[in-house]
Amino acid sequence: MTVPELKINDLHVSVEGKSIVKGFNLNMKGGEIHALMGPNGTGKSTVASALMGHPKYEVTSGQALLDGSNLLDMSVDERARAGMFLAMQYPSEVSGVTNADFLRTAINGRRGEGNEIPLMKFIKTLDKKMQMLEMDQAFAERYVNEGFSGGEKKRNEILQLMMLEPKFAILDEIDSGLDIDALKWVAKGVNSMRSENFGCLIITHYQRLLNYIKPDKVHIMMKGQIVKTGGPELALQLEEEGYDGMKAELGITDDETVEA
């Protein structure tokens, strides 16, 4: 198996006619964990949603290639089946559909007709992964995200990640609203995925999560593009200096902010 590769070249994204991402570049390989940091409204989540194919996000130019295939030509479900995964900031609730049914449908969608996962194997795998995330077994039979607390929803996103085993995952502010225990469980889940067949982009405001999931690279995003890239020490520097210090260092002025 060759190591998966995600290449994003000069991506521009608009939301409702407003340009938000302006020339985003990123190369990732399986086995790598990258962190994407930056102040509110710089377009981090917009990159994530655009790569997954949310209908509201319009890619006006640029390229996104997963193992050489053009992601941007694919429908949302095709992107997922090609190996993309987005742990969402605000996951939807789907009433009447149990978590277990949802996951099994998703897994079988990837495996294709005639190659469905055997039920027992599915249940065993699900039990194991839920245990790792300290999730109560009852969650399997609860309706997707319905009545889940913020932290439960986030853990449910990671559970899906672990069950679906994508090539690349983007975690969009998975740490927001998590207490320290939940943060550790989430980190444990993500770390268990580490292999050269899996790459992960962690979008976060804070360095805190990166104490538990060690990134290989840290990117700082401002005003719609990556302005600086470094190692884990960059996150620590940011924690100390704040975004204002970083802006001063890079000579960036606050002439506009955008909502993403």
Partner: protein
């Protein structure tokens, strides 16, 4: 001498002959004759916003007998799989076309005085008791279809629970039609006396071999003081069968009825569901789901009337509209003068799955009393694009994702049906109609 009717294909002579063949007592055949006369005079009902003038309610074969069976395995597979299997413990009455063909009631229930029998037997063997409740909660002269029903009733069941008898296991009725042009005119009477409790589930289904047929169904439920009735139904008539179905209940002091209706016909349907909360503290819980598909037209009227003080009702209607289907949903909550402390809530949600379909949800509150609580919510909308995106982002194809969402949307009613086979019937139906 026979009386020729303009738009009916049967006359007094036919009816007399039919009643005679069935050995019915005179009081019952008198009602038939009265019904026939009224059917000739009365107009069709006029449901709001649905034109039914050209629906065939009157031309069908009402005498389509089938032989009795002793072994469930001799029944059509569609029927067989609905019935609770094993040890013959299911309390069930099965009709094929216009005949009751199989019947079982446990000795234990018989010993407790429970009556569960087909209509023909009821009018003969429990004549006085049955007469007390026949057309008690709805009137023969309501409109042409109720009158026609009285004239031609050819099936149905009578369930009587004496006071203080609590039945845990569900009582089941199954109606299956496969005779050409078959018309099912079924009348169900359920009586739960004081402090009793019962769960009743009925399934109606038909084979496409019927072709153009008719279903004219009336169910009457009398819930006694502090009694509880759970009434589940799955309607599954094929596309060319026109259905009139009326389910009515009267609830006495502190009694409670729960309706769980899966209305999955493929043909044109006119449905009335009405609950009369007569006694103080009486309560109703109405849950109904439907899927419109093809070019079918449907009209659903769900009505709760609060008469007694501190009466409570909850009404939940969920529906999905596909293809070029057209459905009207009226939810009516009426709080009469004197019903102080009443609490009536209703919610109707319609999910539109195509541009050609139509769905109208009309919430109606009629309140003649102060000091009550009443609320309504009605919405008609499309599948939530964020939900769709979420499911698709996990690799689920759009059609499958839509199916999951719609099935989940309708699930609250499926979960209420107490018999595994019937639950599966509704689940399979939803999958088929959505898919």
């Amino acid at each position: 001498m026979s009386m020729q009717l303009q738009n009916l294909s049967f006359d007094t002579e036919d009816i007399n002959q039919f009643a005679e063949d069935r050995n019915e007592p005179k009081w019952f055949s008198d009602i038939r004759i009265k019904g026939l006369k009224l059917a000739e005079e009365l107009p069709l009902p006029q449901p709001e916003k649905t034109r039914i003038a050209d629906w065939n309610f009157t031309h069908f074969n009402y005498d389509t007998g089938s032989a009795a069976v002793t072994d469930l395995n001799d029944l059509p597979e569609e029927v067989n799989r609905l019935v609770e299997q094993g040890s013959g413990s299911g309390n069930v009455l099965i009709h094929v076309n216009s005949s009751a063909v199989y019947h079982h009631l446990s000795q234990d229930l018989i010993d407790q005085g429970v009556i569960y029998t087909d209509l023909t037997t009821a009018v003969k063997e429990h004549s006085d008791l049955f007469a007390k409740y026949y057309f008690k909660t709805t009137a023969i002269d309501k409109h042409k279809l109720t009158a026609l029903h009285a004239a031609l009733v050819n099936g149905g069941s009578f369930l009587y629970i004496p006071k203080n008898v609590v039945i845990e296991e569900p009582i089941q009725a199954v109606y299956y039609q496969d005779a050409p042009s078959s018309g099912l005119v079924a009348h169900t009477v359920v009586v739960a006396e004081r402090n009793s409790s019962v769960t009743f589930v009925e399934s109606y289904l038909s084979d496409s071999s019927v072709g153009e047929g008719v279903a004219n169904i009336i169910s009457e439920v009398t819930v006694g003081e502090n009694a509880q009735v759970k009434y589940g139904a799955v309607d599954e008539f094929s596309a060319k069968i026109v259905t009139y179905v009326s389910r009515q209940a009267e609830v006495a002091k502190d009694g409670r009825i729960q309706w769980a209706l899966g209305q999955m016909n493929d043909g044109n349907t006119l449905s009335e569901n009405a609950t009369n909360l007569e006694g103080t503290g009486a309560a109703a819980d109405v849950k109904a789901v439907s899927i419109g598909s093809g070019s079918q037209k449907q009209n659903f009227d769900n009505y709760v009337r609060h008469v007694g003080k501190s009466t409570q009702s909850q009404l939940l209607v969920r529906a999905a509209q596909k293809d070029a289907s057209n459905s009207i949903f009226n939810a009516r909550t009426k709080i009469e003068r004197g019903a102080s402390g009443a609490d009536g809530e209703q919610t109707q949600r319609v999910l539109m799955l195509s541009d050609q379909s139509r769905g109208d949800a009309n919430p109606i509150l009629l309140i003649d009393e102060y000091d009550v609580i009443a609320g309504h919510a009605a919405s008609v909308g499309r599948v939530d694009p964020d939900q769709l995106y979420y499911l698709m982002s996990r690799g689920i194809k759009k059609e499958t994702a839509e199916k999951l969402i719609v099935e989940g949307f309708l699930a609250p009613i499926v979960d209420l049906l107490p018999i595994e086979g019937v639950r599966e019937q509704l689940t399979t139906l939803i999958e088929r109609k959505v898919g």
